[in-house]
Symmetry: C2
Subunit: 551 residues, 2 copies
Amino acid sequence: MAKEAVAKTAEQLGKEQRAISVAEFFEKNRHLLGFDNPTKALLTVVKEAVDNSLDACEEAHILPDIKVIIKTVEENVFRVTVEDNGPGIVKQQIPHIFARLLYGSKFGRGKQGRGQQGIGISAAVLYAQLTTGKGTLILSKPAKDKPTHKMELKLDTTKNEPKVLHEEDLKDGPLKHTGTSITLEIQGKYIQSKHSVDEYMRQTAIMNPHANIHYENPPGEKFNWKRSIEKMPKLPTEIKPHPHGVEMGILERMAHATASRTIASFLQNDFCRVGSTSAEEICRLAGLDSGASARTLTGDQIKKLYESIQKVKLMRPPTDCLAPIGTKMFEEGLRTEFKPEFVRAITRDPVVYRGNPFQIEAAIAYGGSLALTQSGEVASEDAVQQPVKLIRYANKMPLLYEQSSCALTKAVQGIKWKRYGLEQSGGGLPSGPASIIVHICSTWVPYTSEGKEAIASYPEIIEEVKLAIQECARDLMRYVSHKARGELAEKKREIFRKYSMELAVSIHAITGEDKEKLQAKLLKIAEKMYKQQGGDEIEEEKPAPAHNEEE
Amino acid sequence: MAKEAVAKTAEQLGKEQRAISVAEFFEKNRHLLGFDNPTKALLTVVKEAVDNSLDACEEAHILPDIKVIIKTVEENVFRVTVEDNGPGIVKQQIPHIFARLLYGSKFGRGKQGRGQQGIGISAAVLYAQLTTGKGTLILSKPAKDKPTHKMELKLDTTKNEPKVLHEEDLKDGPLKHTGTSITLEIQGKYIQSKHSVDEYMRQTAIMNPHANIHYENPPGEKFNWKRSIEKMPKLPTEIKPHPHGVEMGILERMAHATASRTIASFLQNDFCRVGSTSAEEICRLAGLDSGASARTLTGDQIKKLYESIQKVKLMRPPTDCLAPIGTKMFEEGLRTEFKPEFVRAITRDPVVYRGNPFQIEAAIAYGGSLALTQSGEVASEDAVQQPVKLIRYANKMPLLYEQSSCALTKAVQGIKWKRYGLEQSGGGLPSGPASIIVHICSTWVPYTSEGKEAIASYPEIIEEVKLAIQECARDLMRYVSHKARGELAEKKREIFRKYSMELAVSIHAITGEDKEKLQAKLLKIAEKMYKQQGGDEIEEEKPAPAHNEEE
């Protein structure tokens, strides 16, 4: 059946060359976008829609109300609806946002956001048509006094362009005020595991305590996470690129496309942290006239400009553009979710990798529901020696897959956990009834793939994560050893109680003194001793009764 | 410096939306293409150029002569030249092939090849201009009697289109007959390690024994791998998609774009393994008229067609389209490279994952240079207990990065190596003075990223790799235990030799018989015994002398 292998000339080979649409590329490579298997595909579809909804609410400064409903259509086919109360989308943008890959407002704009590539939601639409042949239904109401736009869309993969299957304007749509709703029909698989949509929704709720989230899973269970804070969290802002993080080729492109007239004004207007003094200094070092046109710089001049930029000292990029969740809200979210006996969160100061500001937050929650089995019983010693539960976030968005190749995981594994009182074998995650939570926020999160599942291993990021977790771990160690000392003292007291009766019997046999009086006396001596020691000052394994005998 | 966060309406958000060129996307995400760091970037540039050269020679049935020269321009800046004797490229295609992402002849064509995406070499050109601002120089001679085309190119990232900086035709270029040469200037880092260009070239030579490869590294060392076989290897051929591997959305697209008039002819002409009987059967099950037009099928009809395709039994895709290297050539390549004391290669029969045919080859080389230290000495026991060297190939192309996330690695780790006499700790690679080599060839290799560094973990692939390696491992075990028995026998003989002298002295003390005669007799008895046992039939630890004493 296979075609015969025939030697080809340049002429013949030339005729076979063609342009490949980016949609065709990702259709064939859909595992790159998080659609490797049916379980992951269901999660990815929900994730892309929820991320878009939360981002949209944030842009419009609206406290989010998000509804996620997944219904089983037939075996392994699901209808997913995600609805928000965001600002809505104007009619002419709907087809492009939902049915065109590499289209959006978030790409490389220097602003922290869940979305950053302009691929995710259109990839979900593509996946829906690929697996069920169905178009995606969008409802969007961009203003209170305007109708709701209804559109059914597919993506023309050979052109990477939207195909509108149906459109109409509804006077009385289901959406109140403003908002957007998307409904996709996809092949998928629903499971209840650490990679499930249920888990994703739960982790999203922890990180977004300002959101009301309603979720119905395929078996029909309903979950409601009520907002625990009635105020918008700190919002991220936009920054311009920092000159030290820009490569030569990008500098050239920016110079040739600038709206500024001169090189000096280009440097000041198109970058952050460049004032007039720095701009003049850069031009002087490059041997360029600061008043010359930036748009006509030659390749050699760009190279000189690039090199002199590296030589001039500039302030690091501003970092107030980032919006971490904050220690208090972070701990609050974890308390609500895990009811732990101990929780500690840390927000590190923002720092920079390759010109991009980023900030790490980490937390450890210990005990409480984490020490229980799934059926709610106290776990056995063995179960407690399971690895801790690691929860990873990037720009407030849970990362559920690719844990082992993620920089956040590597940072946790790189800590010497025995120093902090947790077991650790073979450089893996530590063990214990605990959860470690890490959050990276950045204007540009370096994901290892388009599927946004893991963070690339920049040393600056790993270092910051380590520092944050170590700080939490020190407090955890204090808590655990305090608790352990308390438990030890209690155990000793218990042993002494039993022992004192035997002792009393022996003394009674020798002296004839009353057994119960004797025991009461012995216990009194012991209590006094424990009080002196404050109950947790016992340093050695020397048992208390022996000590008592010497008196 | 950061812009104030201002609430935005749908109207305002709409104005911020824009299309992102695929070149801009990969410029910002260049780690996805294998340009994460300077060391990897240098390797990736060489790899993309060499892969293209080998593929071009294969297409034209030319025994490849490849030259790779890397010169240091300044610290961490290199000039890379790769030249081949392939068919050359016609003038009008040069800019598109080298300076336009997602352009090529190899995408999804159902043919095994090193390149398959139409991204690699243009990404290298993009990386060059990004880091040094320099254009890339191409020389290409598409026919013996025609001039050599010379072109200097950049890639316009905002449009994903080539920019020709300079072009001319040379009457007397450096290229003889036909061929192509590419020269790029890039930022990079040259190291000598298991991730180095040197190692990549070496591994490429092992897998391509029909190629002459000349390589000069930055320190100026010259390597020449002469072809050891003067015949073109089996060449891959092209196949049509198999109906069972095609998704609903793709079926729809194919139907609407088909050149065939009817549904029946569409099924027979555009797919493999569908004859007229199967085509009729599919139409009947779908309730469709087999003579109706395929181009006008509705969404519902496509769905029915898709479902009935799944129900009809079809032959598996043809697998003669694949071109493995073959057991003999594989072992030959390894013997030349490692001079091992033992080598065994296996080529499995082709099988199928998701409609794509693939084939696994594996080999184990043991001892020889693998048991030596880098300085050429016999390694100590400790050194021998290092993990084996794992070499991975996909479509004859070495994979140097992302070893731990690769399906080929997981398969090796998943084998219980103790059964085969190799140490293995904690589910990692086995230890020993050996190398394990795995090769997957397929019409569509499922890489985990655009950088083509690791294979996605399809269970079918992992299973085939395991079976192939286990077969090699069984032979290795036989060899090693045979060798160990031989060594044990020799050791025992040695012990007996020493012991026999002492025994002779003792007997002499009792009987006064001549010591040397006594020892000679004892040794003779022992030799006879060993001969009977064939030197390697010793089953127990019972020492030979004791046995002798009983006589």
